[in-house]
Amino acid sequence: MTENLSLAKAINLGLQKAMRDDPRVILMGEDIGTLGGVFRVTEGLKNEFGENRVLDTPLAESGIVGSAIGLAMRGYRPVCEIQFDGFVYPAFDQIVSQLAKQTTRHQGTQAFPVVIRIPYGGHIGAIEHHQESPEAYFVHTSGLRVVSPATPSDGFHMIQQAISSNDPVVFFEPKARYWPKSDVDTGATPGPMHQSRVVRTGSDVTVVGHGAMVAMLLDAAEVAAGEGISLEVIDLRSLSPIDYDPILASVQKTGRLVVAQEAPGQASVGSEVAATVAERAFYSLEAPVIRVSAFDVPFPPANLEGYYLPSVDRILDAVDRSRGF
């Protein structure tokens, strides 16, 4: 069945389906119950499943993740919502030193299927701590899986796949893409969660991104096409592990790679992609891999976010530089 959904609604329906399918799935977070979350992603779920499965928790992020670990030890599959990207750090120790390492500490005797949903990224004009892209911290941590849906369709399917995963999954939801609608086939069988995907074929330059960047890359590809330049756009979808095969295949075809991300470039997901492609496809490259990132400064006051974050123009500038080699 195909429905025209926003990403927020698609994730909402995905959560609902997962909860209907498995009574051990419970939701935890701040304001997610009666209010339905500050982005309304959990709207209506408390009504359907009750307060024992949709927990309005005390306002303490470490407490949310730490108690979710205990609930997982008890056999539950908790899905935690961190209200905003910049609020995840109080839970950092519980995610990095506890959740990520529980499976190995337990030597496989117990799984830790905890999902941590984090609305992330800029373009919404919000105040400090509400527009960040902290995914690299979690990608760097073994024991976690990290994914980010760019479309309503992926939101619907990937949240269910994340909940089904027997490993901890950090699930980054691009806030800038919460509201635009597109078609979702809710009856489709999705591909693997950790697959990157070519979302526009092209021949001149490969451009890679994730989350809200994917729509921007598609916009850039449209503009470039008007100038006779053909961009191949790849949606990473999964940040840990990263599925390199489509990227390497594309680079073997185009010889050029631009990686775009909202996060600062230093030690970022884009850096990892650039390094790996350089290692594995060096002789296919006609130009250095170019990253288009936010600057290496704290997220500035929102009035300046248009200069801080990558834009269609900055992506096209990188494409031109790549083609100049």
Partner: protein
């Protein structure tokens, strides 16, 4: 002074069983214990101390990277462990060696952890004794969440003590300052979770005295969160048993969390890397040796007619177990190299597979020589 007017005690330092109105309900619980159970209290305290000393020696001889002694804290631990029921789940910190033993965990598993053979050591599903946790107070939240799960499972407040569950989480005076400890109290109280917070106040967080963590008795922390709280003489195995039994039964019956502060003392170092002479005075150590939990309980048992033969037997048992522990420690081998890639994830993960394969091929490239 660690002891306050609130401190509950059943056994004086000279081994006399005390009577007071305030402790009558605990005395009744202890009066219900048979001789074999009381002997078990003694056996576990003495045996753990013996193994503890053996482990310290093994560390000094280069067999362990580190050892974390529990000397002096045996009564708080053994009493509270017996205070739980077998279907209760225990979340330790990293010094609860006697409780591990009581729950059936092989002492060698703890040795393996501190010898660098494993980062876990045992299967907590069997013992209901969860793994040691080294980042202070993080386990308090795991325990609070687990207790919330007990509630969600409907295993609380049915009135059947053999079906209703509780969990006990151990932490210390230093850990009480961590944010997680305080968040755990918030979550436990908010959800009325069946959990007992058992704080072993051993007076020092490595070198820093408890007064730096709190200017008021730590059991008041629990009360500050609206949780019924107790301060006990942690070197009195009987009060530790009785108060823990009461607190866990209250928690399992649906009355919400409980908080116990056990006043005790780490007679040894924080770890084998520590030097207490830099921050403790001998007079203080002597004072606490007079309060030793084992000698106190031995006097009590002798006053009940226990003969030398029993104490000799326990000592011999301890020596035999220590000898066995030494033998098995020396026989331990490192895990296989590629084990580092196993169980990082539960489901297949391409990076683990690729790097495991790479390392195996790299090692093999040396022609089979290690």
């Amino acid at each position: 002074m660690p002891y306050t007017e609130a401190t509950l005690q059943l056994l004086s330092t000279d081994g006399t069983l005390l009577e007071s109105d305030r402790t009558a309900e605990y005395r009744a619980l202890v009066d219900g214990l048979d001789d074999d159970t009381l002997r078990s209290f003694y056996r576990e305290m003495v045996t753990t101390r013996r193994l503890d000393i053996e482990a310290g020696n093994l560390q000094r001889q280069g067999q362990l990277a580190l050892w974390v002694p529990s000397l002096g804290q045996e009564a708080a631990q053994v009493g509270s462990a017996f205070g739980t029921r077998a279907h209760d789940t225990i979340f330790p910190s990293y010094r609860e060696h006697s409780i591990a033993r009581i729950r059936g965990v092989d002492f060698l598993s703890i040795i393996a952890l501190l010898r660098g053979v494993t980062n876990g050591g045992w299967d907590p599903r069997e013992s209901k004794f969860r793994l040691y946790t080294l980042v202070l107070a993080t386990q308090t939240l795991h325990a609070a969440g687990y207790a919330m799960g007990i509630g969600l499972d409907g295993k609380v407040g049915t009135g059947n003590v053999d079906a209703d569950e509780a969990c006990v989480v151990y932490f210390g005076d230093g850990a009480s300052s961590e944010g997680d400890a305080n968040e755990a109290l918030v979550f436990a109280q908010s959800y009325q979770a069946p959990i007992v917070f058992f704080l072993q106040n051993n007076q020092y967080a490595i070198s820093v005295p408890v007064v730096r963590q709190s200017r008021s008795p730590l059991y008041l922390r629990g009360e500050g969160f609206g949780i019924e709280s107790y301060q006990i003489d942690g070197n009195d195995v009987l009060i530790s048993y009785a108060v823990t039994r009461k607190a866990t039964d209250a928690a399992r019956s649906g009355q919400g969390p409980r908080f116990i502060e056990a006043q005790t003392y780490r007679l040894g170092a924080h770890t084998t890397s520590d030097d207490p002479s830099k921050y403790r005075v001998a007079e203080e150590e002597e004072l606490w040796k007079e309060r030793d939990p084992i000698s106190r309980f031995e006097k009590f048992l002798r006053s009940r007619g226990e003969a030398d033969a029993f104490f000799d037997q326990i000592r011999t048992e301890g020596d035999d177990l220590a000898s066995d522990l030494r033998t098995r420690t020396l026989a331990m081998t490192p895990p296989p190299v590629d084990a580092m890639f196993d169980h990082i994830y539960t489901d297949e993960h391409p990076l683990m597979t690729a790097q495991k394969k790479w390392l195996a091929e790299y090692e093999a490239s040396f022609g089979g020589e290690s």
